[in-house]
Symmetry: D2
Subunit: 333 residues, 4 copies
């Protein structure tokens, strides 16, 4: 009764998910792997797993009941379409695809298939703190959410390799997705403001302030800072009509010493979200075992793509850039 899974892409994140699927979670077996680098695939394959020469071969393998895609972004579209064609549930790491047109092709294919198969790797939705925050908002006792503050503070980025568009292209999607989910809302426009630059990252446009205008009228106020040095510090606060709800401090020991009364900050995203990754797959396994997906959808991947595109336009224009989504197919309601 274990779900047989094939993993495409056995780089760092693929290896981590294989570890998770084989050593942490129950009800799942990795039966096949594939990677552009055959030797890397071989090294990453658990005992007894097949190593397929191509993604197509892996998807076509009758022993593979569901697929995990950890290849690089530009390859996702073709692999996702193959999974949908084969009717196999598929977990796809971010970004789902790299263009609006590609996202629409995924949606079209999945809608034509008639059942959700695709889950996109927005793991924050599985984090216990975010879930408790959403639970508070969803009770409605605080009234409608009017503002959401999302602070995305990252310890450091590799100088030279990291470019100024990355916060808007790669990082903002997390804030945008969690905002849409927390507020049960859609983004209709994006503004970007660039404050004084941090001297810690030479030529980097850092930090940035992003305003997401939501369909309800709510405003989402995002700070992205990628070079704060002291740790990985994710905060979120929803300002509602009759109250405020926020993420708590991370549960570190409360130490009192010469530095004051204090709690440690996580070092990086791995430390911060490790349980969320586990839970993300725990729930995916259950849904995939039933031939479908229940987590973040192709629709959510499409929305993320549009927001990132609009943010990049907004930083250039200095204006409010509209996010124009197609009518939402019933499959995603």
């Amino acid at each position: 009764m274990s779900l047989n899974v094939g993993v495409i892409g056995t780089g760092m994140i693929g290896q981590d998910h294989i570890r998770r699927l084989t050593r942490v979670l129950s009800g799942v077996t990795v039966v096949a792997v594939n990677d552009m680098d055959q030797a890397r695939a071989q090294a990453a394959a658990p005992a007894g797993a097949k190593v397929h020469p191509t993604p197509d071969a892996l998807v076509a393998d009758p022993d593979v009941q569901a697929v995990v895609i950890c290849s690089w972004g530009p390859a996702h579209e073709e692999q996702l379409l193959a999974c949908i064609a084969a009717g196999k549930p598929v977990f796809c790491e971010k970004p789902m695809v790299t263009s609006e047109a590609a996202a629409l092709r995924i949606i079209e294919a999945e809608v034509a298939f008639g059942r959700r198969l695709v889950q996109v790797g927005f793991m924050r939705r599985f984090d216990a703190d975010y879930r408790r925050l959403k639970a508070v908002i969803d009770t409605g006792t605080l009234g409608a959410p009017l503002m959401y503050y999302s602070k995305h503070r990252n310890a450091s980025v590799p100088e030279g390799l990291y470019t100024s568009d990355m916060p808007l292209n790669d990082t903002l999607v997390h804030d945008a997705d969690i905002s849409r989910w927390l507020l049960s809302d859609e983004v209709t426009g994006v503004e970007v403001r660039v404050p004084r630059r941090s001297s810690r990252g030479k030529d980097l446009r850092d930090p940035v302030l992003v305003l997401l205008h939501m369909a309800s009228g709510a405003l989402v106020d995002v700070e992205i800072s990628v070079n704060i040095g002291y740790g990985y510090d994710i905060r979120g606060e929803v300002s509602c009509e009759a109250g405020v709800a926020a993420l708590p401090n991370r549960p570190a020991a409360v130490v009192t010493d010469a530095h004051g009364i204090r709690q440690a900050i996580p070092e990086d995203w791995r430390e911060r979200f490790i349980e969320a990754y586990d839970q993300e797959f725990r729930e995916w396994i259950v849904a995939a075992g039933q031939g479908t997906a229940t987590g973040p959808s192709a629709w959510d991947g499409y929305a993320a793509t549009l927001v990132a595109d609009a943010a990049l336009r907004a930083v250039d224009s200095g204006r409010l850039e509209a996010v124009g989504m197609i009518a939402k197919p019933a499959l995603y309601s």
Copy 2:
């Protein structure tokens, strides 16, 4: 050696300051009062204090060494100019004056006099929490401030009497002044965004999000909500290059019961800032006794006027409205 003070305006706030000057603070005596309503002045006058028929008479009284102005805003300019003409230190409640032109006339007069005489009632600068926050920033260990978040959440406003311009005209001045002071910076532009309106205040534009663009490039992100119901909740957080510093929770008992582990929120601005008002006058008395003023200046009152004007323009235009200040006179450096 006690400072002899005359109070102009004996309405609610005037009476409160008379109480403070006579019953809380040392080194000061209220020797004269004036109010448009002579009976009200009589009732408010401490034993032994004179009741003057006009503000001018009070300012001219040789027994009056320093003046406290608590009359309504439109009367301030004339009274301030009279004090400056008489060379008497003067504390003036907000707003200093009601137009840019008037503010410039105060500055001109004071500069011509050659010594600071005017202090404007921005009491937050005397609040112990804000002072500790500024002390942390000023040490420089967190690096340059890049963003400042100011949340101004007020329990309720009187329906009908309170209009949509008031948050920008009366409330924002506090956030603008404390931002300028905390960041040792000036406002150069103002943007206003209007999120989904709270259903708690019928036709009110509430909340509003204000972005203050500072001369250093830092961005100040202000939320003003005036009808949150649950209390008076002022928060502030400075995001710096290498760390973050924020106002603490107010020092309420930590109660654990069926509502969780919790601390009470102040009911209103009186509860929140009562010690700040005391401290504001404590320091004013010392400076006034030396014939001058050291707290928020006419320059600060001028800046507040410009920011409020720009915010009102920005809510209409939807654009970034510039704040154009004259060159700063040496008196205010």
Copy 3:
């Protein structure tokens, strides 16, 4: 490569562990169950698992590689000795046994066998908060621990069924075990003081204050309250030579509303320790797969028995009651 486990005792806790072993954790299969009530065993058995008529039959089953004991306390000794005789790793719920003599017999058998097989169900040692607390202490930067405060506050107990000895017999063992573990120390004496009784539990001796005198000289100060009503509130604070370290608040959303700024308290021990139970078995499975046990040992079960016995004597005598342990066998070092 899955560990085949047999479960003895399929009451409430046995059923919960079967759920955990079959639906939450990886690398383990429940292949056999047993219960005094054959029908209950049948109902609790996962698909494909055998139902054995006796504990002995289950332990003897060659398909059973490791055993989980969830029967009632008086039956544990015989079942544990059977597991040791069979050389099978065994997880045993609290209490390990119900007398000092029985505890010594378990130790004697395990020492004779020559390898650790027994793990006792002190799940707090697997709680992430306690682990972070211990990590802080073990770094040594705060100096030696001098006092440990353990507050054990329980929402309610069933009137009539719950007796005044239960806090000392059943509850204190958790505080004693976690104290020994956190401080890497042993209990040498126990005092009990009985404060004013709570009116919430009629004839109950509640709360109680217990002082554990440790071999190092450190004092452990335990409050056990079983009828506080508002939730399940476990706190711990270590006072060291140069600093203090404490358990954090549980990671609930920070809500600000008419009740203040607040975080929810867990409702009961299930909510508080559910992840700890999962982790406890996760690590047990790994060790049992290697034919041994690494968690709380028979020595720890023995210590808990002695502390509970001493506490019951101390409440009667009003004195310091000594805890006299045998020399620690090398197996437990």
Copy 4:
């Protein structure tokens, strides 16, 4: 309408109170001083104040309406009795007197006089945090208090000069007084336990754990640590039948940096309690102006003496030492 005060004893604390009475508080004038060291008295005297050769001369001075005693402890009895004989309100620093017999003589004299004149310097009762804590308890919503935890952690003590009896003789009186006040209760017995000694203070009996048995049955659990190094850290928690209430963190800026998310701890008692001292005198001035005293009384000074005596006996005996107070005179009800 200003209260004319004479100050006996112009050492460090006398000088600080003179500063407070002349420069911080209103409605009071220091008109006379006295000290064993005439030159020191001269130096400390505010402009216009008389310097009296003896305490008796100061008390007898018809210009002196009320007296502040800051001399050393053994001199207090005679000075207090002189004030009572003169019918003059008197504020006396701790310890009120140095023996039970002396305390009873003060009470006898004051009762004979028929009106409260004596206030003892237990300043914690005037601290805003303690007052909020008491307010929560006094509402009764948490039920009766059953346990109170008082942690008295001091940064350092001078090696050699500080002896092992001082925590019980000088420090414990604060915890005892605040416990009696918070719980509206009396101490009936004292136990002392001595944990492992801190290696930071060579031959010092540090920390100590003191249990105060209260008349209601409530238990007060006091930790006194005098050499913790990191700051002055005072904590208090009341465990009631249906909830818990505790002192909050001190209102320091919340800084997030490489040391975590943190708030500073006060350096010493001056920083921690400076506002409490101001408030203590603010209220004393009002009561003294009405010819009486409302703060901590001679009865409270008597209780503190008995608790300290019992604690010293208890550390030697290892037993519960009873505190036997006389019947409470109506004057103190």
